[in-house]
């Protein structure tokens, strides 16, 4: 039985090696925050992190995920308080909300490497994630807000260390 490291825990699952990671996460582990949208890597609703990189879990086999650190929306933060999640509430981003786990996971991969993205970088990074409610402008605003909050937090952190 394959073992998965997901959201910091090791869990054994029972499925064929070629099973899309998406369905293992949703059905076997019953973590339903990761969504099925297109099954073809065209919409981004199923985005999770593999070793910190945003991937489409509908296009990732169980075998490919074994031995890597998987993070889903449920594990992005301890209390749902990742700067992006807070910004998503502050900007009142979601409408139907179905794509938003994937949007947040996709954005989180960007901000983990670059907390000062330009608008163009945000668009280029997010363009594979569809939102049928068309909440795109609020998604952009929320990413910029979270990035700014992360920069402030890190600046405050270094000041503290300095003093």
């Amino acid at each position: 039985m394959p073992n998965l490291n997901i959201n910091g825990r090791n869990m054994s699952v029972e499925a064929a090696n070629d099973t899309p990671l998406l369905w293992v996460i949703r059905e076997q582990l019953q973590m339903t925050g990761t969504k099925f949208g297109c099954g073809a890597g065209l919409c981004g609703a199923c985005t999770v992190h593999l070793n910190g990189e945003a991937v489409r879990s509908c296009q990732t086999s169980l075998a490919d995920a074994v031995g890597k650190k998987i993070t889903t929306i449920e594990g992005l933060s301890a209390k749902g308080d990742h700067p992006l999640q807070k910004a998503w509430v502050a900007e009142q981003v979601p409408q139907c909300g179905y794509c938003q786990s994937g949007q947040i996971m996709q954005a989180a991969a960007l901000l983990s490497k670059n907390t000062n993205p330009t608008k163009e970088e945000v668009v280029a990074h997010m363009d594979g994630n569809l939102c049928r409610c068309m909440t795109y402008s609020r998604i952009q605003k929320a990413i910029m807000r979270a990035a700014s909050d992360m920069r402030t937090a890190s600046a405050t952190g270094s000041e503290r260390r300095a003093t």
Binding site: L42, Q92, G97, C133, M134
Partner: protein, 761 residues
């Protein structure tokens, strides 16, 4: 067992009766009714709760839980209902909670008498009922508090979930009053009607952008959609749908290869007496991944049926043929004598407008979970029309609809798609065939090719002007599949003015515009071929999505033909005379606001750029939200259109949640742009050719223009905002393209090729 169905009226409706009374709250449909299980969680509060109305309960801890009977598909309607209740109740927003209603008829819409969500109707039709429910609770709590405090109720003030007496400085929280058990006052319908509601100047909650109650759940993965349903012992169904959209039959199913696959349970060929689906097979297996593999392994042969050779071209050809017949269709509007007026007109313009098939494609693919438990069929599926969907589920199961319980969830997008109930059929029949709860999930390919789509439409509009350029006659033929006729609910159809039988007003709404044209007719013509081959549905804004495309383009064409400014011609036509009094003036004012905000006629634009206007009501004249748009576009020599800015103004009367309204209007406007430029489905050999987001391509972030939303709240009664801004954008863009480069495109979507061809013409 079944004590919950005891109180059903004997005439409990089933599909064969198909009776449906719109507008009569008292006699709403009695269909599937809430049973055990969820009701304790969703509907029936613990005894210690105070339940002043069916719409909410207050717990001893002071939390107010509003039960929303409308489908929440991202318009935050549950939160809106809670906000209206909270205003009159005097509750603090932090104490408000929401839950979603089952299909118990007690949660039927107070105006529509059924559970259906659409038409941008919810806020308008529930504002009064929710206000009165909230006020009733306040009155009951106040009287109980007055008794406890020993002070006159009339001296008490209610605010932020607390009831205070200024003179004695006594006060009680809602929690304390509920705990006291003294709040017991009940209200009859007449009592409720007699309550004097707050006036707008007394509002402290309506008009405030309080945070939407469903949003926290949607940023941490905990919001539950239909697809997230998990039941003990549940197995999964994957669909095999035929290559023909409608009319195919299964000749044979060879499951020998599927039988060798792990987890495979059974292949179920649907026997759909509701005629919602044709030729569908479900592969059932222990997991969805196994079910999908099994579905791929099934070898199915089909009879393609009568529509197997049809294409978009054949539907359009048939539409043109029907339009050309003098006795086609029925009249939706017939004012004056257009034929005579055309005879004496100084100038006549004629044009054809088309729209292609469009697919809803909400991000959550269609799905449903069905479980038979005792006599009761439980359905778990986010749905916009629980009343009818419950009946379809019952029809698929061969049971009486009163034994169906619909468990509502958040909807991963609706846009009208979840008014239809096709997903009930495979789930129910697979559950019946296997004796297990079954969750059926459509692949995106199933979802797109089996959509109840926005129909292909063909419209012919003719306008006659007198010697002064005044519009004296307008005729408008609308040929399409009839989405609402398909429902088989007579009360959703409208009488024709020429008394030729009922017509589907959901194909012509909007054509009964607020412009003053003395001689005006609108003819609704059913394209039977399209109706059969591409069973159509209600797509966000429905008919106004195509009727305003035609009308608002034609008004522009009239302006250019008569040497007038297109926006000022609209102002002239919105003179508020006769039946248009009131509405026309509001629309005129909204248009003027949008023009001012966009700098229409004042901004100097570079070559290749232009501005176009449009103004619309939607959906019905009686439920209009007045909406205008100025589109600013740039057109490349290749014909490629870039939308630089959409300026939208909308008069909604009264705003409940201003930020929520802006979100809806922006989303609607971008839907309009997506339909105008990027979305096109086609029929070939009876099947929809587009199968996923690589070939059907809604707007993405990189295509986002600047959108300026301006909301006019003038104190009139609250109207809906989910849809009107969809319809105004396509004609505004089309008109802007003409303004920019002189190219008139009359078909949606507006493609670079069409613009380039029109530039040359």
């Amino acid at each position: 067992m079944n004590k919950h169905v005891k109180n059903l009226a004997p005439e409990a409706t089933d599909l064969s009766r198909r009776s449906f009374l719109v507008g009569t709250a008292a006699t709403g449909l009695v269909l599937g009714y809430a049973a055990s299980g969820i009701d304790q969680a969703l509907a029936a509060p613990a005894p210690a709760n105070f339940e002043p109305s069916v719409w909410y309960a207050i717990a001893p801890d002071g939390l107010v839980t509003v039960t929303c009977g409308k489908a929440d598909m991202g318009q935050h309607v549950a939160s809106t209902m809670a906000q209206i209740v909270a205003e009159e109740l005097g509750a603090s927003w932090k104490d408000m909670r929401v839950q979603l209603a089952s299909n118990d008829p007690k949660y039927n819409d107070p105006v529509l008498g059924a559970q259906i969500t659409g038409g941008s109707w919810s806020t308008m039709m529930n504002f009064d009922a929710m206000s009165r429910a909230g006020a009733a609770g306040r009155i009951a709590l106040t009287e109980a508090a007055a008794a406890s405090m020993g002070v006159p109720a009339g001296e008490l003030v209610v605010r932020d979930s607390r009831i205070s007496h200024a003179k004695s400085k006594k006060s009680m929280s809602f929690a304390e009053v509920v705990k006291s058990g003294k709040a017991t006052k009940t209200f009859t319908a007449d009592d409720l009607k007699a309550i004097k509601l707050k006036t707008a100047d007394q509002y402290t909650m309506i008009g405030v952008s309080v945070p939407q109650l469903d949003i926290p759940l949607k940023v941490n993965g905990t919001a539950k959609y239909g697809i997230d349903t998990m039941l003990p012992g549940m197995v999964y169904g994957a669909l095999v749908t035929p290559p023909v959209r409608y009319g195919a039959t299964v000749k044979s199913v060879d499951d020998s290869a599927a039988k060798k696959l792990p987890g495979f349970i059974k292949a179920v060929t649907l026997d759909d007496k509701t005629t919602t689906t044709t030729g569908w097979v479900v592969a059932v297996a222990n997991t969805y991944a196994q079910a999908k593999k099994a579905a791929e392994a099934l070898k199915i042969s089909y009879d393609g049926g009568p529509n197997a050779k049809l294409s978009s071209e054949s539907l359009l050809t048939e539409a043109k043929r029907l339009q050309g017949l003098s006795d086609s269709g029925q009249f939706f509007v017939k004012d004056g004598d257009p034929d005579a007026a055309f005879g004496s007109a100084a100038k006549v313009l004629e044009a054809e407008y088309t729209t292609n098939i469009n697919i809803h494609a909400p991000m959550e693919p269609m799905n449903a979970t069905a479980e038979f438990k005792g006599d009761i069929l439980h359905i778990y599926s986010g749905n916009q029309f629980a009343t009818r969907s419950g009946a379809i589920a019952a029809g698929a199961a061969g049971i009486d609809p009163k034994f169906v319980v619909m468990h509502q969830t958040w909807l991963g997008g609706g846009f009208g798609r979840r008014l239809d109930a096709d997903m009930m059929v495979p789930a129910v029949q697979a559950a019946k065939a296997t004796g297990k709860p079954v969750k059926v999930i459509y692949t995106r390919e199933n979802d797109m090719t089996m959509d109840f789509s926005r129909p292909l439409t063909y419209q012919k509009v003719k306008a006659g002007m007198d010697g002064d350029g005044k519009v004296v006659a307008l005729s408008h033929d609308v040929v399409s599949a009839w989405p609402t006729a398909r429902w088989g609910i007579p009360d959703f159809l409208s009488p024709s003015v020429d008394k030729k039988g009922p017509l589907d007003a959901f194909t012509v709404n909007g054509a009964d515009f607020f412009y003053t044209v003395p001689n005006h007719y609108v003819r609704a013509i059913k394209n039977e071929m399209a109706h059969n081959a591409t069973p159509s549905g209600q797509l966000r804004s429905v008919a106004p999505g195509w009727t305003f495309w035609a009308i608002e383009s034609m008004v522009d064409e009239i302006a250019h033909a008569t040497g007038k400014d297109p926006a000022l011609l609209r102002v002239e036509l919105l003179d508020g005379k006769g039946k248009n009094d009131g509405g026309a003036q509001r629309l005129r004012n909204t248009l003027l606001a949008a023009m001012g905000l966009a700098g229409y006629g004042t901004k100097k634009l570079p070559k290749g750029e232009g501005m176009g206007v449009a103004c619309v009501s939607s959906q019905e004249r009686a439920t209009a939200s007045w909406t205008a748009c100025v589109a600013h576009v740039a057109v490349a020599p290749s014909g490629e259109v870039t939308v630089k800015k959409l300026t939208v103004a909308t008069d909604v009367g009264t705003q409940v949640n201003p930020d929520g309204i802006r979100a809806q209007v922006e989303g609607a406007a971008l839907w309009g742009m997506s339909l105008a430029l990027f979305e096109k489905a086609t029929l070939k050999d009876g099947g929809i050719e587009q199968t996923n987001f690589d070939s059907y391509t809604p707007l993405r972030m990189s295509q986002l223009p600047e959108v300026a939303v301006n909301v006019i709240a003038n104190g009139e009664k609250a109207t809906g905002v989910g849809e009107p801004a969809v319809t105004v954008v396509a004609p505004a863009i089309g008109n802007a393209v003409f303004n920019a480069v002189g190219a008139r495109v009359r078909g949606l979507p507006i493609t670079a090729e069409a613009v380039k061809a029109a530039m040359k013409a």
